[in-house]
Symmetry: C2
Subunit: 195 residues, 2 copies
DNA sequence: ATTATCTATAGATCTATAGATAATGC
DNA sequence: ATTATCTATAGATCTATAGATAATGC
């Protein structure tokens, strides 16, 4: 039973980790404080020594989920094509509790507190910057606008692939949008192939 | 107070209408059966003469919301460019209770019953077919794949525009994705302008 | 006789707080 | 002395059902 300051910090982190996964899986209102605490190996009474309210946990969990994703994207220095294929993969689709929180939570975020929306927006900007930096050399036009198109297609496509119950259709959505995006941003000579 | 069969049908429709708006605004778990009934001018006790369970209301409300949208899209026979501009408009973004349910509910649908997911998928196919039929003449390649790219970008972009609290960024998301999509599918001579 | 609606409520669940316990840290 | 955790619970809310009432429809 944790009592030192160091143990409290670990406990706090464990609560946020559980929440960041379960909120993504079940939605921001899909799990109770008591269930989060239980899964973190604690009981509900201790919660309010860590957070002023449930809404505060939401803010921290959203931020932690996005930061973790951006961190792993930064280390996986890669090409745009590989980024697209990884994002729009069946493996990513099936990570309903550890997948991209920008996609898994976009609808919930629109309905939640301003603090959580601010945290979300800040991390969205990070992800967009990263995507801009992955654009092939020689890409013409507004890089920010192109990054927004790609990320919007990401969020919509992976959301749809999770919404439809038919596995065939789900895969078709992912592969169709993936190949369309790859064709739009070829690594070299953007003018040669248009279809 | 309605008792005849005709009145019951009207009442049923009124409950579904309220639910189809509030579920879109607040999420599929965001409003109680009692509150839906109250807003329809009824009390909670009568609910289970109309629906076997709350989940059944969800199925009907999702279907009704999508059918209503597809109906209005069918009558508004228009060009792809105008469709894009209308979908990715601030007016549509602000219709949080009457906007496109495919976008407003995509995350919730992934977490709900198979029956609701089936109803959603069926209507998604309708919307995709409609989009395919709006493609400019002479568009090359896989029309279904291009419709999936557009609808994914729709869902992601309008979702993001609702999630971010900064109105400037929200507008930027809509206009950037809108102009990118319009540039991708020009009405004539698709080969001339690539940027 | 049937049934669409109402009022009332059972039973489950949720957020937040109260008070007890036991270890930390001055 | 402080506080991180625990057990217990208050008060609110939610789905679903029970039973009463009053109009429909055979």
């Amino acid at each position: 039973m944790g009592y030192s300051q160091a143990e409290k910090a670990e406990t706090h982190q464990r609560i946020v980790d559980v929440a960041s996964r379960r909120f993504r899986e079940l939605g921001l209102e899909g799990i109770s404080v008591a269930d989060v605490m239980n899964e973190a190996g604690l009981t509900v009474g201790g919660f309010y020594k860590h957070f002023a309210s449930r809404d505060d946990l939401v803010v921290e969990a959203v931020a932690a989920a996005c930061d973790e994703m951006n961190q792993s994207l930064l280390t996986a220095q890669t090409t745009l094509k590989k980024s697209i294929q990884t994002y729009l993969s069946e493996a990513h689709r099936d990570k309903v509790d550890t997948g991209c929180p920008l996609a898994l939570l976009v609808n919930d975020i629109a309905r939640t507190t301003d603090d959580a929306r601010e945290a979300y927006t800040q991390r969205l900007e990070n992800s967009l910057s990263l995507l801009e930096s992955q654009m092939p050399k020689g890409t013409e036009g507004n890089l920010r606008a192109k990054a927004l198109l790609i990320y919007s297609a990401y969020i919509g496509a992976i959301g749809l692939s999770r919404a439809v119950p038919d596995p065939k259709l789900s895969s078709q959505i992912l592969s169709a949008v993936s190949s369309q995006l790859i064709a739009l941003f070829p690594a070299k000579k953007p003018q040669t192939a248009a279809a």
